[in-house]
Structures are given as structure tokens and as C-alpha cells.
């Protein structure tokens, strides 16, 4: 356990020095292998070593420095969980259990999708950003926001922004959170649609999760209240059965019933999203959440074991030409800024600030635990992102581009895709492409954009070489698809609900009844608005001739990093206001970086003259052609031309709007900081007053007999 401000400096401990020297050398050698060795095959093993070594050093030294010097955590100060303990919202929770809760809440499909898309730039930029980004930005943001919220009894990010920056900053933050949620849900749903379209196996397995969740819900409600573990075991067993049964369905006469077009899937998802948001949580959301938590932890563990045993060789170049020329088919634009917005979750994710200022700060036992829970959980998520990157980079680049370039470029047949991939400068024969699809039990892998199918192919490579061989490849592929779709649908459920509550809360100020959480018409109306909003973007993405992922993913990245900018602005403002100007760089440097990245990206998306990048340039190009009655590829008719014009206008306006929000918040915060620095005495503190802690962590608060003591060292804490 870390004791802050220890009165005496510990003597150098030779064992500790030796261990940390060894960790540093291992990390440095691994970085050297990744970054410098060329022309030889690089094993994914080095990526894992570089990541783990860097995390250990970041956790041991940088996170500890932040906890002690910058935040000045104080274990003699009672946390809100101790002071306000009500057994419901506020309750001191074992730090390892809370780490599990926090990790399950922050990690989802994001760290799995972004790195797969960013693999078009090569493995090096993604790896560097994931590892350095998490150590100096992402984990710092999560930890500092968690600390700030904890010191203020668990206030939400929106409340923090209003209290610390002012009403304008607060309103901008609220609008930002809501619009980001909508884009996030649309993009995630688009990933599911692209993974399930024309795949009866996947569609059947995912559809089965609904009756499985309902069954679990009723079982927990009526037969065995509270027996979550046995219910989850039954659920997981049924889930595996559903994956296996998907293969039978695909081979049977039912296959046609489960072969859905993307448009039909959009309809299903929108209806599902609405129903899930208005049903009581015990029926669908709560059991789904248990299932997805178990699948998440289990599958990520399985993948980690697989990567370490197989140590596959990376097939992608370290840095591809697309990094500099900006002509990549997966997403347009060059390395800076687009790698940094494509990989959000796993390196720096603004969305985490919502979780770190939600339930977690109300459950912390001791202040010093913000390091393990805030910083540590984010390191774990970063490791998930590294594994996703590995899974994408071990694929043959020809296959990667045949799966990830937009359908408009690739066409629909293996022959057209093979030709298109050759035009990009890579090779894959039509036979190989068909063989790859057959191996995983899919009709076709052409233009299966969105990242999930690519990750699933990579995971099936890795897992089938450890468990089951070639014969189980199709099973593992669909297992991976199921695992991602399950997360995403849980996020869609929960996100729609959160969006609905925000809307009810805001509209309740205008018209009282809408704000009442029990009023059914209000619930239906606001749920419909939220579902309609993300459904619109989902529908637009599915029908976009230029490829929905290509168009929408940058917007999602900008939105997520914008939220990070808001969170880091709040953090920096709090540091400055509380007289820690000297240490404000800890959050101000990542803030400057994310502001630079987001603003450059939105600037390019709005003002770039290149129609591949700039939304308005794109709009103009297609609008001009439309006026002249021409049809520009990849659009096939005038209707599709009109679709492009509408979509690029909406996307361009949104990009500009997001950038404007960031600028408003940063300027408003700068004024507050200036006032704080100029003020002769410190500005009034918004922290809850000091109360001495009586909680003894270790003996009294430890788990009951037969369970571990609390003295175990935190991961990476080598003392």
C-alpha cells in the first residue's frame, strides 16, 4: 500500500533496483526490436514485452509521482464511500473488486476496433500511440478525474465542468456528452451491422442472445434471486451452444431467414434499441451486462494466452506509405492527426471521464487507490488495444485491405476485390480470398469493414492454433464476432438509457412531466428521440456509397477526443485553482496534445480542399457533378449522389460543431485559470471538507475467511 508523503525517504533497496533495471532493459530491447529492426520478421512477442515493460514503469514511477506530488492523495482523509456510506450508492469496496467493476465499465468494443483500422498505417504508429498515449495521457486523465470527482463526493463530469469552469463550460460539456453518445452508438451499431450482414451464422447467434438474456432475467427474478454466478454460468453455456448452433443453421434451410441485408439489420437494431431502453432493466439489460462482463474478461484472457503461446509474426510493415500520403482506403488522411483520433479507446478516451466521475469514485476505500483503479484499469484497456492491433497485423495485408476498403472500391466479387487490392499495391488472389472466407464459415469476406470481422479473423488465427486447430477456425471466428457484438449491444442498451435520462433531465426543466422517470409516455418519447438520432446516423452510414466507417469513424474519434479535451480542461483548471500551477503540466500537456489533434483533424475535415478528407470539399464535388447530371464513382446513380451530398453536409457541420465546443470550453477555462493565478488568495475550494478516516484497510475491511488479505502488492508495484 502506498503511503503518501512518507516522512522518511526509504533507503535504496537493491532488490527493487535490480528488478526495475531488468524491467527497463527488457522494455528498451523490445522497443528497439519493434522500432529499429527492418527487413526481418518481427514477432508479436516484442510488442507485448514493450507494452508490459512500459506499463510497469509508468505505473511504478509516473503514476506514483502523480498520486504523491500532484494530487497529494491522503489516506488519513475519509473518502465519500466511508463518510457517506449508505450501503447503496456509497460503499467502501475492495480495491481489486472495484478495479474489476471499473475495467468492465470502461472497456468495450472501442479498443478492439480503433487499432484494427489504424493498422493501415503500419504497426509502429499504432503501438507507439497506444503505449505512450496511455502512460502520459489516457491513464492520467482517468486517474485525475477519478480523484477530482472523489474529492467532491462523486460529482459527474457535467457538474464538475459547471462548478469549476462556469455555466457556459458546463452547458458545452453537457451538449458535448450527449452528441458524442449519439455518434458513438451509431458507429458501434454500424460495426455490428457490418459484421452480421449476409452472415446467417453470426445473425442467428446474436439473435439468440436476446432469449438467453430474457431467460436469465426471469431465472434471477423468480427462481433464484441473487444467484448471479450460477445464472451467468448457464447463460455462458447457452451462448456457446448458440455459437455452435449458428453453424448448423447456416447449413440448414433456415439460413435464408437469418441472411439479412444491412438495411434490414438497421431496422432490427433500432427496434431492439428502443424496446431494450423501455423494458425494465431486470429483463434484458442486467442479465446482458453479466454475460458481457464474463465474456469480456474470459475472451481477453484467452487472447492474451494465445498471443503469448503462439507469438505470431507481424505481416504488416512498420510504417506503410498510407501514413505519409494520406490515401489509405480504410480512412483517409495522413498519420497526423488521424492515427490519434482513430485509436481513441486504449490510448486516450474521453468517454472514460464519464465512468471515472460516475459510480467508481463513490466506492473507493482509500484515496491512494485512485492509482490502481484509475491508472491501472486504463493500462489494462491499453493492453487489450495492443492485442487487437496484433490480431490485425498478423493478417496478410492483401486480406486486410480486401476486408477493410469500402465496398464502393472493392466491388462485390472476389475477382473485383483482388483487382482493387492490386491497385492499392498489395496482392491476394481471388482463390485465397475465397479460401479465407470458407475457413471461417462465411460466404465472403470482401468489404467487411468496421474492424470486427478483421479482428475476428485474426483472433481465429491465433486461438485455433492453440485450441482446436484449423477445424475450429470457423467456431473461433464466430466466437469473436459474438463477443464483440455482445459488448456493443450492451453499450447500445445502456447508452440509449443514459441518453434518455440526460434528455429527460434537460427537457424536464422546460416541461415538468418529461423529467419524471416513472411517466411512461415521457420515457417512450425520449427513448424514441435518442434511438431515432443514432438510428439516423446508422442508416446514413449503411447507405453511404463512400463507406459508413470511412466517413463516420473520424467523427467518432474527434468526438471522443473532444470529450477528453473537456475532461483534461476540467482537471487542469482544478489543479490551477487549488494552487498547483507548478504541476498543472501533468494534465495540461496531454490537453494541449489532444486539443491539437482534435482541432487539426476537425480543421482538415471541414476545410481541406481534398474531397477525400474535407467533408465540404466532398460535398461540393458531388453537388457540382449532380448539377451537371453526372454520376461519380463509387456512387452508382443520382440517388446515391444525393445521399453523398446530404451525408457530407451533416458530417461537416458536426465536425465544425464539435471543434467549436472544444474551443469554447478551453477559452472559458483559460479565463478561470488566469483569474486563479492573478488572485492574491486562492479561489474558494469546491472539495468536500476534510474528515479523518477511521477505516482500516487490511484487517477489518478485508474479505471474510478463506479469502486473500489486502496486503497483496498492486500489479506493477514492485516494492
Amino acid at each position: 500500500m502506498t503511503t503518501p508523503e512518507s516522512p522518511t525517504r526509504a533507503r535504496p533497496n537493491w532488490r527493487s533496483i535490480l528488478i526495475w533495471t531488468a524491467v527497463s532493459i527488457a522494455g528498451a530491447v523490445a522497443w528497439g526490436m519493434i522500432a529499429l529492426v527492418r527487413g526481418e520478421e518481427i514477432s508479436a512477442f516484442w510488442l507485448v514485452v514493450a507494452a508490459l515493460g512500459s506499463y510497469a514503469i509508468g505505473y511504478r514511477f509516473y503514476a506514483r509521482f502523480i498520486a504523491r506530488k500532484v494530487l497529494r492523495v491522503d489516506d488519513t482523509r475519509a473518502t465519500p464511500a466511508e463518510r457517506l456510506d449508505d450501503g447503496v450508492d456509497y460503499q467502501p469496496t475492495d480495491r481489486r473488486v472495484l478495479l474489476g467493476h471499473h475495467f468492465a465499465a470502461i472497456a468495450g468494443a472501442g479498443p478492439l476496433v480503433g487499432p484494427v483500422l489504424a493498422a493501415q498505417m503500419g504497426y509502429l504508429p499504432g503501438t507507439m500511440w497506444i503505449i505512450l498515449g496511455v502512460i502520459f495521457a489516457g491513464a492520467v486523465q482517468d486517474m485525475v478525474v477519478l480523484f477530482i470527482s472523489m474529492r467532491r463526493n462523486g460529482k459527474s463530469l457535467g457538474q464538475l465542468a459547471r462548478d469549476e469552469i462556469g455555466p457556459i463550460g458546463g452547458a458545452a460539456a453537457l451538449i458535448g456528452v450527449f452528441s458524442i453518445m449519439i455518434i458513438l452508438l451509431a458507429v458501434l451499431a454500424l460495426v455490428v451491422v457490418n459484421a452480421l450482414a449476409a452472415s446467417p451464422w453470426g445473425t442467428f447467434s446474436i439473435a439468440m442472445t436476446i432469449p438467453i438474456a430474457l431467460l436469465m432475467g426471469f431465472y434471477l427474478r423468480t427462481l433464484r434471486p441473487g444467484r448471479v454466478l450460477e445464472t451467468s454460468l448457464i447463460g455462458v453455456a447457452l451462448l456457446i451452444l448458440a455459437i455452435v448452433a449458428g453453424g448448423w443453421v447456416q447449413a440448414s434451410s433456415w439460413a435464408d431467414a437469418f441472411t439479412l441485408s444491412p438495411q434490414a439489420l438497421v431496422f432490427c437494431l433500432v427496434v431492439y434499441g428502443f424496446v431494450a431502453a423501455v423494458l425494465p432493466v431486470w429483463m434484458l439489460l442486467a442479465p446482458r451486462d453479466y454475460l458481457s462482463t464474463f465474456m469480456k474478461i474470459g475472451t481477453i484472457g484467452l487472447l492474451a494466452v494465445g498471443v503469448l503461446i503462439v507469438a505470431p509474426t507481424l505481416q504488416t510493415e512498420a510504417v506503410t506509405d498510407f501514413a505519409t500520403n494520406g490515401l489509405g482506403p480504410v480512412f483517409s488522411g495522413s498519420l497526423f492527426p488521424f492515427v490519434f483520433i482513430t485509436i481513441a479507446c486504449g490510448a486516450l478516451s474521453g468517454f472514460h471521464a464519464l465512468i471515472a466521475s460516475g459510480t467508481t469514485p463513490k466506492m473507493i476505500q482509500k484515496e491512494s487507490q485512485v492509482r490502481m483503479i484509475g491508472y491501472g484499469a486504463m493500462l489494462m484497456e491499453s493492453f487489450v488495444a495492443i492485442m487487437a492491433l496484433i490480431a490485425a497485423c498478423i493478417l496478410d495485408p492483401g486480406l486486410y485491405y480486401a476486408m477493410n476498403a469500402p465496398a464502393g472500391v472493392l466491388g462485390t466479387t472476389v475477382e473485383s476485390a483482388s483487382t482493387a487490392v492490386a491497385n492499392l499495391g498489395f496482392t491476394i488472389s481471388p482463390q485465397d480470398l475465397q479460401a479465407a472466407a470458407d475457413a471461417v464459415g462465411e460466404e465472403s469476406l470482401v468489404a467487411r469493414t468496421g474492424g470486427a470481422p478483421t479482428l475476428a479473423v485474426g483472433m481465429s488465427e491465433i486461438l485455433s492454433s492453440v485450441f482446436g486447430g484449423e477445424g475450429l477456425k470457423a467456431f473461433w471466428y464466430h466466437f469473436a464476432i459474438m463477443f464483440e457484438a455482445l459488448f456493443i449491444l450492451t453499450t447500445v442498451d445502456a447508452g440509449t438509457r443514459v441518453g434518455r435520462f440526460m434528455l429527460q433531465d434537460t427537457l424536464g426543466n422546460v416541461w415538468k412531466p418529461l423529467g419524471r422517470v416513472g411517466w411512461k409516455p415521457g420515457i417512450w418519447a425520449t427513448s424514441a428521440v435518442v434511438v431515432g438520432a443514432w438510428g439516423y446516423f446508422l442508416y446514413a452510414g449503411v447507405n453511404d456509397p463512400l463507406g459508413g466507417i470511412n466517413q463516420l469513424f473520424p467523427l467518432f474519434g474527434i468526438a471522443n477526443q473532444l470529450l477528453a479535451a473537456i475532461a483534461l480542461t476540467v482537471a487542469t483548471t482544478v489543479l490551477v485553482k487549488s494552487g498547483r500551477l507548478k504541476w498543472a503540466w501533468v494534465t495540461a500537456v496531454p490537453l494541449a496534445w489532444t486539443a491539437l489533434v482534435t482541432l487539426t483533424a476537425s480543421w482538415q475535415k471541414v476545410f481541406s480542399e481534398d474531397p477525400r478528407i474535407g467533408f465540404f470539399a466532398q460535398r461540393e464535388r458531388y453537388a457540382d457533378a449532380l448539377d451537371a447530371g453526372e454520376v461519380l464513382a463509387p456512387a452508382k446513380d443520382l440517388d446515391q449522389m444525393r445521399t453523398v451530398v446530404v451525408n457530407s453536409t451533416v458530417d461537416g457541420v458536426l465536425a465544425a460543431f464539435f471543434a467549436l465546443l472544444v474551443v469554447i470550453i478551453i477559452l472559458n477555462a483559460a479565463v478561470i485559470c488566469w483569474r486563479a493565478v492573478r488572485s492574491p488568495e486562492p479561489l474558494p475550494s469546491t472539495e468536500a471538507p476534510y474528515v479523518e478516516s477511521k477505516l482500516l484497510v487490511g484487517a477489518a475491511a478485508g474479505p471474510a475467511s478463506g479469502t486473500p488479505s489486502d496486503g497483496a502488492d498492486a500489479p506493477g508495484d514492485g516494492r
Partner: protein
């Protein structure tokens, strides 16, 4: 560490993580705060615990 102890640890962790122990904790708390007053039966307690989610949505990240 023996296998038995390890299994116990895993079981403890999973029960804590899924909230299976919430009822035990409630009983303990109830006994201290309101001695002599009968506590809620498990079915009722779990029902109220889950239904709180209807009014307090927890965000799940990407």
C-alpha cells in the same frame, strides 16, 4: 498457495464482482442499524436492488 485456496479466492472475487454478496452485506448492516427488526427476504432485496437500475442507469463505455 494451494489449489483450494486459489479456488476460494476466485470464488470470492467472482461473488464480489457480480454483487452476489450484496445481500450478505445488507443483512450485516441491517443487524447493526436496526437490531431486532426483521430484514427483507432475499427475493425482495434483490428485486429492489435490480429495479434501482431503472432509475439510475450506469454508462458502459465503448
Amino acid at each position: 498457495m494451494t489449489v483450494r485456496r486459489l479456488l476460494g479466492l476466485v470464488r470470492w472475487y467472482l461473488r464480489e464482482l457480480t454483487g452476489e454478496t450484496a445481500y450478505d452485506r445488507y443483512l450485516e448492516r441491517h443487524r447493526l442499524a436496526h437490531p431486532g427488526v426483521p430484514a427483507l427476504p432475499r427475493r425482495e432485496f434483490e428485486r429492489r436492488r435490480t429495479d434501482r437500475g431503472d432509475a439510475h442507469p450506469g454508462a458502459r463505455c465503448c
